[in-house]
């Protein structure tokens, strides 16, 4: 653990209170960064509030081309300054295995078929767990992502009640988590207006994203929704099941894991 993080804040998992949050102008921020227009706009906005923005891209076995997000990092560095952004590409395979794959038979019995598309919810939860560890390792007290209302009806990890659960998880570890572009309808237009990108409509331009990873699990989520959810079950997503699933995973995996891991790191 870097020395700076040891003095920056206490761990709340021991029941102690966290040190007060530093002003945004003095502390760095972590942005969960896919390279898409939503997370790029998030990073662009936060670079005006924080001295340093840590852009963290995550990858697992079902993802391809995760490193394409570096193209968006270059755009951000050109627009806001090269020294303002720190980029990392981190692996979350072990978290995915523990949260999603291994308990999947029991989860299907408990939550029904909707446990299968919760692959995306588990993936995002794995990213949050890794982000909290990253924040601890680097003394970061602010975290954000590009969750957007546009996709929140389909993707469980971007539904409002689920985002609230993530916010509470971060709060437990003394980190403030926000979704600055949740209500932004066209982030690509705003990026163009801010001078970060050179094309105005690039969000809808390509089937394969130019700056973003591709994910086989995401394709399967669409397949499940179109081929099973709508024609058989009569629904595209189940907000209540998604919320119960994430709450259960946070309680039974994330909190015990993070408590133990942060105590181990601080020892």
């Amino acid at each position: 653990m870097p020395e700076s993080s040891a003095i920056s804040y206490d761990i709340t998992c021991k029941g102690g209170s966290a040190a007060p949050l530093p002003p945004r102008s003095e502390g760095p921020v972590l942005v969960m960064f896919s390279g898409g227009s939503d997370s790029t706009l998030t990073a662009s906005l936060l670079s005006e509030l924080h001295p340093v923005v840590h852009l963290v891209t995550y990858e697992h076995k079902a993802m391809s081309f995760a490193s394409k997000s570096q193209l968006a990092v270059e755009n951000l560095r050109k627009a806001h300054g090269a020294d303002r952004f720190v980029y990392s590409l981190l692996d979350i395979n072990s978290f995915m295995a523990r949260i999603f794959f291994r308990p999947l038979p029991q989860d299907l019995r408990k939550y029904g078929t909707y446990a299968l598309p919760m692959c995306c919810g588990s993936c995002k939860l794995s990213m949050h767990v890794r982000s909290i560890l990253y924040c601890y390792e680097h003394g970061i007290r602010y975290a954000a992502d590009g969750s957007n209302a546009e996709l929140s009806e389909l993707f469980p990890e971007q539904m409002k009640p689920v985002l609230e659960l993530y916010r509470q998880l971060y709060q437990r570890y003394g980190i403030e988590y926000t979704n600055p572009v949740f209500d932004v309808s066209r982030s690509d237009h705003q990026l163009f207006d801010r001078g970060v990108t050179t094309k105005r409509d690039y969000k809808t331009e390509h089937v394969v994203y130019t700056n973003q990873h591709s994910c086989a699990a995401g394709v399967m989520l669409y397949g499940f929704t179109l081929g099973v959810g709508l024609p058989l079950l009569g629904t595209s997503a189940k907000k209540d099941v998604a919320t119960r699933y994430i709450a259960d995973k946070i309680e039974h995996f994330c909190v015990p894991f993070l408590d133990a891991e942060l105590l181990r790191l601080s020892a």
């Binding site: 794959f101 291994r102 999947l104 038979p105 299907l108 019995r109 029904g112 078929t113 446990a115 299968l116 394709v219 399967m220 669409y222 397949g223 499940f224 929704t225 179109l226 081929g227 099973v228 709508l230 024609p231 058989l232 079950l233 009569g234 629904t235 595209s236």
Partner: protein, 123 residues
């Protein structure tokens, strides 16, 4: 039929997208089944087969036993039509959507194939 709520469940997703989505999902399911069978000796292979078994079990329960599912709503509509013929039949259709949507079509298909085979064998 407002009583069944079918009007609430109309979706604007074109059928071609549903078919292509179904093709993607079920072909992957089939490939995973083959992979699971081929590696059944390993822990991963057995996990895949267990996942698929649990998925199909849950899908059956949600489709045939949940009042929210599309077959359940159509069976509710059918039971209303069957009420004129026989209240007992209407109740059976209402409670067991698999009767009109799985067993009856399969039986009809079996009868057709048997009849066709008998006719061909006499020629």
């Amino acid at each position: 039929m407002p009583c069944c709520g079918l009007h609430e469940y109309r979706r604007t997703v074109p059928v071609k997208y549903m078919l292509s989505g179904g093709a993607v999902f079920w072909s992957t399911f089939g490939l995973a089944l083959l992979f699971g069978l081929a590696t059944v000796w390993s822990e991963r292979g057995r996990l895949i087969l267990r996942v698929q078994g649990e998925f199909l079990r849950s899908l059956w329960l949600e489709t045939m036993r949940s009042s929210e599912s599309v077959p359940a709503r159509w069976s509710c509509r059918l039971s209303g039509l069957a009420l004129r013929l026989s209240p007992r039949l209407a109740t059976m259709i209402y409670r067991h959507p698999e009767l009109p949507f799985v067993y009856a079509p399969l039986t009809a298909l079996a009868v057709l194939i048997s009849a066709g085979w008998m006719v061909l064998s006499r020629l």
